[in-house]
Symmetry: C2
Subunit: 342 residues, 2 copies
């Protein structure tokens, strides 16, 4: 089993990506195909004397979609690294794709190359967010920006199937992100999705206020990709603002300094769980092959974690297990128990 790694995606690529990929290949014995500009990749690989003993191949793809370009640019770039990598997976040359590059371009490339699962109308990114006692899945974290109610239903099913298959959560509690808990709250999109999700066999706990995102009140939190992006980016920005606040506090006294080193440590571990660096990435769900999207600012360590996560999803047959899960929640439920959803 071989993993295709978009070597040109992310800050300081390809250096950071190659560094992380080599670590994953060395420590886990993974077979990798680095996709990117061959000469650059050869230069980077030459820095690792052990590379000849590892199973690392190069697939030449000289082009890249820059972080400041629109996602659609990938359509005009047949030799963009993320696109060549996705096509290699679709052709059976690799089992799964990892990229820390432009996430919109990654979604578009994977969507075009892999195709959707039966009954799924839109792909969704399932981000893991930290909660007091563990983690929750936020879906969609940015793949599908404009949605209809039916799409949110699909995200609920994908998120629940993922939480159950890959995180081992039995009957995951699914919450719908809204501006308050009552079923009548929300935009027409949210209200329409509420009615549809309530009709499935999912364990739907109704609307969830955003203040409950990190409390562990739900295992799966459903929203459109625009809102999911706002949630994650707001959280990221806020943690950075708080970290800066603590740096100011540390400047005030020696006691504060010692204590703040410790609390900042805790804060940074929290941030690592928020921006994927602890998990390595977020899977793109709903397509016929595995794609994991890492954070653009991934360190070599985060890249290695992301590549390992991608390999795990491929090995444990994420797509097949999602399909099984989707079958279980697809039909209208027969039970009359609606929880407090309505």
């Amino acid at each position: 089993m071989r993993i295709a790694v978009d070597a040109m995606g992310g800050d300081d690529a390809p250096r950071t990506v190659v560094h992380g990929a080599v670590a994953a290949a060395r420590e886990d014995g993974l077979a990798l195909t680095l996709v990117g500009a061959r000469a650059m990749l050869e230069d980077e690989l030459a820095r690792f004397p052990e590379v000849d003993s590892l199973s690392i191949a190069i697939l030449d793809a000289p082009d890249v979609v820059g972080m400041d370009e629109p996602a659609v640019a990938v359509r005009r770039r047949p030799r963009a690294s993320v696109r060549v990598a996705a096509e290699a997976v679709a052709a059976g040359e690799a089992a799964a794709l990892f990229t820390a590059g432009h996430s919109g371009a990654a979604v578009m490339a994977a969507y075009a190359a892999f195709g959707l699962l039966d009954g799924i109308e839109r792909p969704a990114i399932a981000a893991t967010i930290p909660t007091r006692d563990g983690a929750a899945i936020l879906v969609d974290a940015g793949a599908s920006v404009s949605c209809r109610p039916q799409h949110l239903l699909v995200f609920a099913r994908l998120g629940a199937a993922y939480a159950s298959a890959m995180l081992g959560i039995d009957r995951p509690r699914v919450g719908l992100l809204s501006n308050g808990e009552e079923a009548a709250k929300g935009t027409p999109l949210v209200r329409g999705a509420h009615a549809r999700i309530a009709e499935t066999r999912l364990h739907f706990i109704g609307n969830l206020d955003a203040s409950e995102l990190f409390t562990g009140a739900a295992d799966v939190i459903v929203c459109d990709g625009f809102t999911g992006n706002v949630v994650l980016k707001t959280s990221e920005g806020l943690v950075e603002a708080i970290d800066a606040l603590m740096a100011d506090e540390m400047a005030r006294s020696v006691t504060a300094q010692v204590g703040a080193v410790l609390t900042r440590g805790a804060l940074r571990r929290f941030r690592a769980r928020l921006d994927y660096s602890e998990y390595g990435g977020a899977p793109l769900l709903g397509l016929r092959h595995v794609c994991v999207i890492g954070h653009g600012r991934s360190s070599p360590k985060a890249i290695a974690t992301g590549v390992r996560l991608t390999a795990r999803f491929a090995r444990e047959r994420l797509v097949t297990r999602l399909e099984d899960g989707l079958r279980e929640t697809g039909a209208l439920r027969v039970s009359t128990s609606h929880g407090h959803a309505e």
Copy 2:
């Protein structure tokens, strides 16, 4: 000048509200009308021996819209405290309204009683959020949940007029919240609003990624009320999660304990700026009279701050100054400078 205070709104009302209102009346010599169930208010006021020397009147309104009820409930409750208070302001019996109750009901009651300013199609809540060096205005923070592009344009104009008139910011920088900075990013709503705002004389800096909310990159951040609610509630929930994290950290060592006391202090001051308790409340903009909405979990001190803020807005003629500001940014701009908006 007299301020109408919804005495039945917020946690532990009317006790907390009366306590805070008495403090504001005593310390600032404000004339207040407490609106709520007369007997309850008389009981609460009896706890303050100095009350006879203060200018506090009671307006009987025995009904209340509970936090778990839909906002529209206020339409069926002619004697609900927030509605009676809003109608007293509209009738000229008070100069402005303060409430820490159900914010949706407050918006509906104020909208019905006050009416919209000319050219304004939707009211918006202008929340103040902390930034590294000061504060920014998030508008709409939850008054208008479902919006069209034209509404976001109105929020941009209201927010800029508010920032300029009441916060003294010259030519406030207006950013449009989106899932990335490029002009092409966003839902159809955001893209439509982008085109409209870019045509005004506002100092429009284009789309703003949510990770930039707290950096001070913009003075006014425009979004629909659903997204604004999600931003504020996500931030609130995240700060609470981080505070809990620090409590755990404190349990680990004495040094961490001492240091964490200080950093938690800083965190709590930050939280106070996030949930209105430092500012006392957020003005509802776009209506013909002043309404300030406090946080439901306001302490007596936060209520007092909110009542003072309401009095300040009335005294400084917020509505007239907003109208002046709106006139300045209303016409199409003649300058060809578009910033990096397009």
